[in-house]
């Protein structure tokens, strides 16, 4: 593999705190030098690339992505998710185990890894199920799943209701030093609720989901994490009270972390408007006060990770009355641009924002990627922070088009994406214009 030097770029690396003009040198898929200041002379046989002042940042690591492979390939395959990820600047994603069959067996993890290598343009990191069949009854073979290549355990969209099972899962995962990534929803309290509980839901005649459906299992999990010493990641928080609980618990343990969906960070309950099912999400979009608390949590370090919660659903299950429609929205291609709104509005610093999509997910999952450091994989992106574009259904690479940002005018776009030094995406003029 040839050497590549990217010059004249604004290097932004949250892990080292670097934000300066400079160049990046890649050899054999690995970063071999990161240097600031004017460009040096490149040795012969090197491909030289002038970045024209674009931001060069580590490729994004998205900690929550669903596909339909195996089982629902018409919604999304690993290949189509890989295309969408590359276009969105996501060079690695954590693949949720909610497929048909469920990823709860070493052979299936092995299948996914091989399949992803053969078809997907970016790194696919399988999360294996915590419980067999995602049923929340018995734990899976954590050791064998880890050997097969699973990077963490998660029950995906499902939330484990039994405290006993969660305790067992955490204790056993600690044996293998593997993180538990858990979606929080107390089922009997969330009930058949479909959106944030409050006056707006009452007016629409939709059943509400109180924030306590999230804070009660969060509180339980934080206590169990302390009891077992497990590495624990609350997959996605949505309410102000959850941030308080997490902030308090983090003072006592470095092994716990949490994430937030870009949807909860940039939208609120009012976006549901006239029963728009692309905004039917789990956790639900909450109040503006909650959203503000999430932004504050991101700024003070309580929130570690921002993810896309990319969840492709076809029109058959989305074009339904609100209460009957499936949850979820796609997000790989709009993750960065939607997140950059917070930078453009002055609410979040660029380094803080990128840290939550690069360094922190890498640390939580134990990856080499997510930083511009010598020896790290050459997964990086070139970004025009101000490039104006519009998210349009016809431009989506994802097989499903259930985007909560459809039609949105965005500023900031990935111009090129590199995985292990190879270009996997280049922006084409006219797209999204």
């Amino acid at each position: 593999m040839s050497r590549l030097v990217v010059q004249n770029s604004r290097l932004v690396d949250p892990a080292s705190g670097l934000d300066a003009m400079g160049s990046l040198e890649v050899d054999d898929g690995v970063i071999v030098s990161v240097s600031t200041g004017p460009a040096k002379r490149a040795p012969g046989g090197t491909t030289l690339l002038d970045a024209g002042g674009l931001v060069l940042a580590p490729g994004l690591i998205d900690m929550r992505v669903f596909t339909g492979e195996p089982g629902h390939e018409y919604r999304e395959t690993l290949a189509s998710a890989g295309e969408a990820a590359a276009a969105g600047g996501v060079t690695s994603f954590l693949l949720m185990p909610d497929t048909l069959p469920v990823i709860d067996d070493g052979a299936l993890v092995d299948f996914l890894i091989r399949r992803a290598k053969a078809t997907a343009r970016v790194n696919v990191l399988p999360a294996a199920a915590i419980s067999r069949g995602l049923k929340g009854e018995e734990i899976t073979e954590f050791g064998l799943l880890k050997e097969a290549g699973a990077v963490c355990f998660s029950d995906g969209r499902q939330s484990i209701q039994s405290a006993r099972l969660m305790r067992a899962a955490m204790s056993y995962a600690a044996n293998f030093d593997m993180p538990i990534v858990h979606h929080l929803a107390e089922r009997s309290l969330a009930g058949d609720g479909v959106m944030h509980e409050g006056a707006f839901a009452s007016v629409l005649g939709l059943k509400g989901i109180p924030a306590e459906a999230e804070t009660i299992p969060l509180s339980r999990d934080l206590q169990l994490a302390a009891l077992t010493g497990a590495r624990y990641h609350a997959a996605q928080l949505s309410s102000a009270h959850s941030i308080e609980l997490m902030s308090h618990a983090k003072r006592r343990s470095a092994k716990i972390s949490c994430g937030v969906s870009i949807n909860n960070l940039s939208l609120n309950e009012n976006d549901v408007g006239g029963y728009r099912t692309f905004f039917k999400l789990s956790p639900p979009l909450r109040s503006e006060d909650d959203r503000q608390a999430l932004i504050a949590g991101l700024n003070d370090g309580t929130i570690d990770v921002i993810h896309s919660d990319h969840d492709p659903q076809d029109s058959e299950v989305k074009r339904q009355p609100f209460a009957e429609a499936s949850d979820g929205a796609i997000g790989l291609e709009t993750l960065l641009a939607a997140a950059l709104r917070l930078v453009h509005s002055g609410e979040v610093e660029l380094l803080t924002l990128l840290r939550a999509m690069t360094q922190r997910p890498a640390e939580i999952l134990g990856l080499e990627a997510g930083r511009l450091a010598v020896g790290a994989p050459a997964d990086f992106i070139l970004v025009d922070l101000d490039y104006p574009w519009q998210a349009r259904e016809k431009d989506f690479r994802s097989r499903s088009h259930n985007s909560s940002f459809e039609g949105a005018r965005l500023a900031g776009k990935v111009m090129a994406t590199y995985v292990a030094g190879e270009k996997v995406f280049a922006h084409a003029e006219g797209e999204g214009a």
């Binding site: 509980e197 409050g198 006056a199 707006f200 839901a201 009452s202 007016v203 629409l204 005649g205 939709l206 059943k207 509400g208 006239g274 029963y275 058959e316 074009r319 339904q320 009355p321 609100f322 209460a323 009957e324």
Partner: protein, 329 residues
């Protein structure tokens, strides 16, 4: 009661007497302003004599097709819409769709597309999911009337309730209306609160906390959990049906406890004004939310509501459809 009752159909709805009704659909009270609400009530008032004549018909919808698409069973609402359509000369088709067969494959959108291809002029829809009627209205070319969607809205019920109140009280202003019962799961309560709120009428809701929706304070003028306090000096009491199969043990401990604290009996009603009227959208659970002696007693206007229901539905069908004809003519 002052009742303007012209005898001939010509006088009832003189052509062009009403300003054109600007809406294509009637999906909810939330989409109407105070003028449109009063306009529909006035139109309904004028329809009342039609049903009291020997020849109960107006030709205004002749040649039009009305489909009653009911995903939930409702004998009385469906019947009311059917009679209303027929009295205006429309061809009325009733379609009851069992939810199970829809769940098995055909989506609401498929059903809408199929019906739309039959070129109806209006579809009257009832569905168990809030917002389902709005979704359907986006997918068809004709007018759509919401005959109840989930726990969201039931606009013709609120209009007929308002008409009933106005005919008994002679006015809609300076009244106190108390709505009592399962507010959380009631589309009737929501539509009534919206309508009364739009007309700036003082509203009270009375229910145990478990049957009040979140944010109710922003929907009603006053919220009571004590029925006697809530009924004090009320001009109108609207009782709601308790879905006791669903509520018992989950939101209330038992129907007998519910009746003790929230059932309307003579003693509790004595706190209201002496000329109070008692309403109920039906079907009633006698002995659960209302004492039979009250339901069938002198203060009850429940059967009047049923009669006004036909008038309101005639007026709504007429407002949405008849004038389009004149426009084209």
């Amino acid at each position: 009661m002052a009742e303007s009752s012209p005898e001939s159909t010509e006088e009832i709805r003189p052509r062009g007497a009403w300003p054109r009704f600007s809406k294509k659909h009637l999906l909810g009270i939330a989409e109407l302003n105070a003028f449109e609400i009063v306009d529909l009530i006035d139109r309904a008032e004028a329809m009342v004599p039609v049903s009291r004549q020997e020849r109960k018909s107006l030709p205004t919808l002749s040649g039009k097709t009305q489909i009653n698409l009911f995903f939930e069973n409702s004998t009385r609402t469906q019947g009311s819409f059917e009679i209303a359509g027929k009295r205006l000369g429309a061809q009325v088709m009733n379609m009851s769709v069992k939810t199970s067969s829809v769940a098995k494959g055909e989506t609401l959108i498929d059903t809408a597309a199929t019906l739309n291809a039959m070129r109806p002029d209006v579809i009257v829809v009832r569905h168990s999911a809030s917002g389902a009627v709005h979704l359907l209205a986006q997918k068809v070319g004709c007018s759509v009337i919401n005959a109840g969607d989930g726990t969201h809205e039931h606009p013709t019920q609120a209009l007929l309730d308002a008409l009933t109140i106005r005919r008994h009280k002679g006015r809609l202003n300076s009244l106190t209306v108390a709505i009592c019962g399962d507010i959380a799961h009631s589309r009737v309560a929501r539509s009534n609160l919206l309508l009364l709120g739009a007309l700036q009428i003082r509203t009270r809701v009375i229910a145990p906390r478990t049957l009040l929706p979140a944010g109710i304070e922003s929907m009603a003028s006053e919220v009571f959990t004590d029925m006697r306090e809530g009924l004090r000096d009320a001009d109108v009491v609207m009782m709601l049906r308790l879905q006791h199969e669903r509520a018992a043990g989950r939101m209330i401990p038992s129907t007998r406890e519910y009746y003790r604290f929230y059932g309307l009996d003579a003693e509790k009603l004595s706190f209201a004004k002496p000329d109070v009227i008692v309403m109920h959208p039906g079907p009633m659970n006698r002995g659960v939310e209302i004492d039979p002696a009250i339901a069938d007693g002198p203060r009850s206007v429940i059967t009047d509501q049923v009669e006004m229901g036909v008038a309101v539905r005639m007026a709504v069908l007429d407002a949405l459809l008849a004038e389009k004809n004149e426009q084209n003519a």
